[in-house]
């Protein structure tokens, strides 16, 4: 693994033999250190303390796989003549991809929307797929919400899940203590989350990018710890159960007379409720998208993007950067609050376990992977991440491992995200996409 950057400077398909051997020896040593230590030996409980289970065979296979993989890379990828970089795709494929993505870009939004609308009625759609789509749409909504903070305003927020939790608990507690209905709680949950966004944001938004990131992370953890330990109020680790399910404008989804099925003269089916939840989250996500797109064309949205580009220039133009940041934070939090109360009503049960840091990381990964600031990118990334996660359901144990690896590999493949061009918010004659190289990366630079 020593020298990947220096591609062999010989004619085509010629390998510098001694160099490869040296590299493979180094690879073997490293792989042995990494895998030999932790795979070959496993500590197990034994009589009178710990014992060691030895698994040389598995370790050997893994090490061999790494070395052979490295050798194959040398033979097929790094043996090309200089000039063609190892990781670069051929130009023809690249321009082809660009064309496809340009075409996809135009029709993608409407097509996806149409598909989303008819999806529950398609013949192959079953309960499982519907549940999965609800999950994906929840992440789409969260991604869109976080996109305001990270993608538009360029503020790195690692504790976004806290607002999701606040939304969920707001609904659960309001319903439990005051008997409020879902439709009453939904705006309240959003407002409460936004309120907390402001409370947190006010002192910390002066901080530079990475400090902001760590303080938001800390805030996310604080919220979780409080939820975990405030037993009387939040139920602690047991969580809250029996959260009321949403009704269709007062019509409950059950077998009873006056229920949804009865009212519309349908045969009762449990899928009605799932369908309703599907359309509910679709509507909420679309609302998020609509509001965000609208805000982008308003002075506040332009101020967010300007803030991402250059904070000092913003101040020199009379923008109150504190309030610009606060609005981004609060509005992002509000959508997380909405999504949170949806989550609560869908699950019927919530506990602090659903709001760990890994959720924040996942949402952030969706935003960054999708391409910061790109609404379409968030959709694609959500489908890829959550859908991909589902595909590996069989490999229970290895699922998170593969998930983490995928995160690393995709990021290295496309550091700027899948859709990295920016669409201007206003134009005089022609809407030209702004290339990713121009767009700034936000705070801390």
């Amino acid at each position: 693994m020593a020298d990947t950057e220096s591609t062999p400077s010989r004619p085509a398909r010629h390998l510098d033999f001694s160099k490869v051997v040296k590299d493979l020896i180094v690879t073997t040593l490293i792989a042995t250190a990494v895998f030999g230590s932790t795979i070959a030996f496993r500590t197990v409980s034994a009589a009178g303390g710990l014992g060691l289970e030895v698994r040389y065979d598995i370790a050997f296979y893994v090490i061999a796989a790494v070395v052979i993989g490295r050798l194959l890379l040398w033979i097929f990828v790094w043996s090309k003549p200089p000039g063609t970089s190892a990781v670069e795709m051929p130009v023809s494929i690249k321009s082809g991809l660009a064309k496809v993505s340009a075409k996809v870009g135009k029709g993608f939004g409407p097509t996806m929307l149409l598909f989303a609308l008819v999806f529950p009625f398609l013949p192959f759609t079953d309960r499982y797929l519907l549940d999965l789509s609800i999950l994906i749409l929840t992440y789409v909504m969260l991604g869109w919400g976080l996109n305001i903070v990270v993608g538009l305003a360029g503020l790195l927020d690692l504790g976004y899940v806290a607002f999701y939790a606040i939304g969920a608990y707001s609904y659960a507690l309001l319903a439990q203590y005051f008997g409020f209905s879902f439709w009453m709680c939904l705006p309240l949950a959003g407002i409460l989350a936004a309120f907390w966004g402001i409370i947190l944001g006010f002192p910390v938004l002066r901080l530079r990018g990475d400090y902001l990131a760590i303080v938001t992370l800390a805030f996310g953890e604080i919220i979780r710890i409080v939820l975990l330990n405030w037993y009387q109020f939040t139920g602690g680790p047991d969580g809250l159960s029996g959260i009321p399910r949403p009704s269709f404008f007062g019509l409950p989804f059950n077998r009873s007379e006056g229920g949804f099925a009865d009212f519309f003269g349908l045969d009762y089916s449990s899928i009605h409720r799932i369908m309703f939840l599907y359309f509910l989250i679709l509507a909420l996500a679309l609302l998020t998208n609509f509001v965000t797109n609208r805000l982008r064309r308003l002075p506040i949205g332009r101020a967010w993007e300007a803030l991402r580009e250059d904070e000092i220039a913003c101040r020199s133009l009379g923008l109150n950067t504190t309030s610009v940041k606060l609005t981004a934070f609060a509005i992002g939090a509000m959508f997380a609050g909405f999504a949170g109360s949806f989550f609560a009503t869908r699950q019927g049960f919530i506990s602090p376990e659903s709001f760990t840091f890994i959720e924040s990381a996942l949402i952030l990964a969706i935003v960054v992977l999708g391409g910061m600031g790109s609404q379409t990118g968030v959709v694609i990334a959500s489908i890829a991440m959550i859908g991909g996660f589902e595909i590996f359901r069989e490999a229970e144990q290895f699922r998170m491992l593969i998930f983490g690896l995928a995160m690393v590999i995709i990021m290295i493949w496309r550091p700027r995200g899948l859709i990295s061009t920016r669409i201007p918010s206003i134009f005089l004659k022609e809407k030209k996409k702004v290339s990713a190289d121009m767009v700034a990366q936000g705070e801390g630079h």
Partner: protein, 284 residues
């Protein structure tokens, strides 16, 4: 020696700025006329940009008073205001030595951000705008018109929909000025606007600045090393050296001032006292 300014848009009095042990600006006082182009010149490290940062609120001066005056007679004590309120309320705008544009946004978008405060009010702080009320639409149209006006003046109309970061250097300089003008300032502070421009671009810049002074009733205060620009367009020149004012007058006066020549050409150590003596004589 102090140049008399009848109707100052900006008065700087006894300004001191200290960074640790370094006195970057030392008892500086000067006035900027309402319809004048005033140049602040001096060798590198003389403290010019520090003065700008004090005026525009990025630094809080150690001592001194900075007053902006509008035609209406309203005065603003800039050293007491938050940095963003200086362009917003006192109407003093600035540009930067190393251009600060919103590179990923288009030329038009840059100019729209310049009108943020007006548009915010028009959109009822977003609430009106989000529901598409007509008041905001009208305001946005006017804002686009103003942006078009300044693009016209800066010769950027053709590039309205291009990313600001894509523009050539000279256009970026002009865009930054145009963006500042969109805040409708009473005083425009330019930090080395001609730096890095070729002679043709520099000529265009001169025209733009003269236009601003003539048509827009805006005072201009600029830091500049390019003597063509300074001598060609300014009405009033202030010379700084080591944080102190060493000369203040019309271009003609400055051209013939021995202390300025000494500061710029550099003098041998033995002559320093002699030159200082001359400066003191000149000042009294």
């Amino acid at each position: 020696m102090a140049h008399i300014v009848d109707d100052p848009v900006l008065s700087v009095e006894h300004l001191n700025m200290r960074f640790g042990g370094l006195l970057a600006v030392d008892e500086l006082s000067f006035d900027v006329g309402r319809r004048d182009i005033t140049a602040l010149i001096g060798p590198n490290g003389a403290g010019k940009t520090t003065v700008f940062n004090c005026i525009t609120g990025f630094y809080k001066p150690t001592e001194g008073r900075i007053t902006a005056r509008h035609e209406t007679g309203e005065t603003f004590l800039l050293e007491r205001m938050d940095d963003f309120k200086i362009p917003k309320i006192a109407k003093v705008a600035r540009t930067f030595q190393n251009i600060r544009l919103f590179g990923g946004m288009t030329v038009l978008e840059n100019l729209m951000v310049g009108q943020h405060n007006t548009l915010m009010v028009a959109s009822n702080y977003t609430f009106g705008g989000i529901f598409g009320l007509s008041g905001y639409k009208k305001a946005e149209k006017e804002a686009v018109e103003l942006a078009k006006y300044w693009m016209e003046q800066a010769g950027l109309t053709k590039r309205a929909d291009d990313a600001a970061g894509d523009l050539p250097y000279g256009d970026q300089r002009k865009l930054e000025i145009a963006r500042s003008m969109c805040t409708k300032p009473k005083l425009l502070c330019l930090d080395e606007p001609a730096a890095g421009l070729n002679p043709r671009e520099s000529e265009e810049l001169n025209k733009l600045l003269l236009f601003i002074r003539k048509e827009r009733d805006t005072g201009v205060l600029l830091i500049e090393h390019d003597m063509n620009v300074v001598m060609g367009i300014s009405d009033h020149i202030i010379v700084l050296d080591y944080g102190k004012k060493i000369a203040d007058g019309t271009p003609e006066e400055i051209r013939n001032d021995p202390s300025v020549i000494a500061a710029y050409l550099g003098v041998a150590d033995e002559e320093v006292e002699e030159v200082e003596h001359e400066i003191e004589e000149g000042a009294s």
